[in-house]
């Protein structure tokens, strides 16, 4: 993993001291609320429905055991004993006190962490594939590129006050597991015909109130040119993007309004002027970073683990876990193991301090001290030996973390919604819990197979509802919570925005509506076809007809 050098440490320590002074001045009244608000947001501190909320950056979702233990300590000392992992691979504390936040930031700095740029109109945490550094299908580990972008974007003076927030995702695999086309900029690591490694760049994607699919702006960018090219994109956006209306200020709107060809021409012109004015870009810094991500010393193991096979034969629960929660590793005899934070009936993405410590211990003992946070709000042990999976499973089971549901219908993405969030228009967690229980039976889940439900409690779409195979958006309708349902969204390579099925329903009727949609799938599916594949083949109409029965009954 990348380790902070003296400059990284100094930046973070200075920032903690600066924020501590700002908090003091706010508490003694010398800063007004208007003056203080943008300062606290620059440090990830929000004021939510019941309390403050602190969002901690987890760069590209990578954590060490020590870091996760520190997060557990903070949860116990300064919060209510738990944290919430988000769709941007970060962690949120829901109950910190303003006067304690400098101390919390100090504890984070002790383990090379911070909350800088987790809010505000700046470049946010760069996200990546949760199996980064381990996935069988990656060209290379995408984390060095993500770290390179992190260093470039941290406190970048030109991009500190953009028109709106800016999110970048990186992947190095053919299969997109980082929602590239749902980001302001998506970076795909590719090789050209000569075998040179470089980047394919997507621009103008996003969810929120105006969902847009990212568009390919550059087919191949040589590696050394990445930061200058990103600089050109940000500069064009910063100059040309709208600032008159915050809902039209993201780069997706600029791309939509002026068109891909025009923005491509503008970016290339800006890029040419950057190149002409600066020394030739080189890869020294990239190589320095890359060296810090050296792959662990993997053992030479047989492809199949007899030990695990025998354990599975004796334990059907373990067999189910292996079937769903292991992901193919690039090294024989290893796997990446998903720790579901979606226990049946639980709040998606929440983990308590004891669970965090248990996972940290597992990472230390079995996964080269490494962990990942996924945008699906789960944790990942990236490098475990197949031989060790049964032991890991036993520990997970003892901590209520052994739910075998990765990629299944109960692996629900869900924003905090109106149970915490000041922006929300409806609750989302109770509905996620209800659906989890409704579909929680193992046999039911197995029969339905791969199906993503994504729930947002408002139009800002933190719960990625647009790109759920089934998306649910909580709104207010006539003074009550109401849930709109979409179908056909896809977060991956066949990126798609879901289609609205009809009018919103009260929470009580959502499970039945989903039953109807799944009944269509069960009726129409061909051998081996997933929910989304059947939808793509047969189209919206049959689902709409099925949905109408519910909508009419409750209209």
């Amino acid at each position: 993993m990348y380790a902070y050098d003296e400059f990284d440490r100094q930046i973070v320590r200075e920032r903690v001291a600066q924020f501590a002074s700002q908090v003091e001045r706010r508490l003694d009244g010398s800063l007004t609320d208007e003056e203080f608000r943008p300062l606290r947001l620059k440090n990830g501190l929000y004021l939510q429905l019941h309390a403050y909320m602190l969002r901690v950056a987890i760069p590209y979702g990578a954590l060490s055991a020590r870091q996760l233990r520190q997060m557990a300590l903070i949860a116990e000392t300064y919060d209510r004993g738990y944290g919430h992992f988000t769709t941007r691979q970060n962690l949120q504390y829901n109950w910190p006190k303003l006067r304690d936040t400098p101390a919390i930031l100090g504890l984070l700095a002790d383990v090379d962490m911070h909350a800088i740029q987790t809010s505000g109109n700046c470049i946010r945490n760069t996200t990546t594939d949760c199996f980064a550094g381990a996935a069988f299908d990656e060209i290379e580990d995408p984390r060095p590129t993500a770290e390179w972008i992190r260093q470039w974007s941290t406190l970048h003076p030109e991009f500190d006050w953009l028109g709106r927030k800016f999110k970048i995702a990186v992947t190095a695999s053919r299969q997109d597991r980082a929602v590239l086309k749902g980001h302001d900029v998506g970076v795909r690591i590719v090789r050209d015909a000569d075998g040179e490694t470089g980047y394919q760049i997507y621009i103008g994607g996003g969810l929120g109130r105006t969902p847009m699919e990212g568009k390919l702006i550059r087919e191949f960018l040589p590696r050394a040119e990445l930061l200058d090219y990103l600089e050109a994109i940000l500069r064009v956006y910063n100059l040309e993007g709208r600032r008159d209306n915050k809902y039209k200020a993201r780069i997706k709107i600029l791309v939509h309004e002026i068109g891909l060809e025009k923005i491509r021409a503008d970016v290339e012109a800006e890029y040419a002027s950057i190149v002409a004015a600066s020394p030739k870009a080189d890869l020294r810094e990239f190589h320095r970073i890359q060296a810090a991500f050296d792959a662990p010393e993997f053992a030479d193991l047989p492809e199949v683990s007899r030990k695990l096979e025998q354990a599975q034969a004796n334990d059907p629960d373990l067999a189910l876990f292996v079937e769903h929660n292991l992901f193919r590793h690039k090294h024989k005899g290893y796997a990446s193991l998903t720790i579901s934070l979606k226990g049946i009936g639980q709040a998606p993405g929440d983990a308590n301090a004891a669970q965090m410590r248990a996972v940290a211990d597992l990472a230390e003992k079995y996964s080269f001290n490494e962990l990942r946070v996924s945008h699906k709000q789960n944790l990942v042990l990236p490098h475990v030996r197949l031989d060790d999976v049964a032991e890991i499973f036993a520990v997970l089971k003892a901590h209520d973390l052994a739910t075998a549901n990765a990629e299944l219908i109960t692996d629900i993405i869900c924003c905090p919604g109106l149970d915490y969030c000041a922006l929300a228009t409806a609750r989302s967690i109770p509905l996620a819990q209800k659906l989890s229980r409704h579909f929680g039976d193992a046999a039911t889940q197995k029969d339905i197979g791969e199906l993503s439900i994504k729930i947002s409690g408002c139009i800002n779409a933190c719960g990625h509802h647009h790109i759920g195979n089934i998306g649910i958006l909580g709104l207010e309708k006539k003074g009550a919570e109401s849930y709109q349902i979409t179908i056909g969204g896809d977060a991956g390579d066949q990126f798609a925005i879901g289609e609205l099925l009809g009018p919103g329903l009260p929470e009580t009727h959502v499970p039945e509506a989903l039953d109807k949609l799944i009944a269509v799938y069960r009726r129409e599916r061909r051998q081996g076809e997933t929910f989304i594949e059947t939808y793509r083949r047969i189209g919206l109409a049959p689902y709409k007809t099925a949905f109408k029965e519910i909508a009419d009954a409750f209209a």
Binding site: R26, L27, D28, G29, T32, D33, L47, Q48, L49, H50, A51, Y52, R80, W95, P96, K97, L98, R99, A347, L418, D419, Y420, R427, I429, P430, Q433, G479, A480, E481
Partner: protein, 106 residues
């Protein structure tokens, strides 16, 4: 000056404590964390008084985001009409062990 738009009466005053972040309600004397002890304004004059109290407390850096919330009186206790504000008087609905609902057994 245009008339300030206020929610329909009766109302209570809600704010966040600056230091703790916790939701507070204006009481007969200062602030309370328990909505059942909130001062209810049933006429324009009382609502204005609440509003002025909130503004003064905000300028003294005691609270932030003070605003009036319309309520119904149920069993002698103010209950916000809107579900969002009802949640603020209680806590997260999926964690009954947290928030005011746990502390005050509401």
């Amino acid at each position: 000056m245009a008339a300030v738009k206020r929610p329909p009466l009766p109302v209570i005053l809600v704010a966040n404590d600056l230091v703790e972040g916790e939701v507070l309600f204006a009481a007969n004397n200062g602030w309370t964390r328990d909505v059942r002890a909130a001062r209810v304004a049933s006429d324009e004059a009382a609502a204005l008084e609440l509003e002025q109290f909130g503004a003064a407390q905000a300028s003294e850096s005691k609270v932030v985001d003070a605003y009036l919330v319309d309520v119904e009186i149920e069993a002698g206790v103010p209950v916000p009409r809107h579900y969002r504000e009802r949640l603020r008087t209680l806590g997260p609905s999926h964690r009954l062990d947290l928030g005011k609902q746990a502390e005050f057994h509401i």
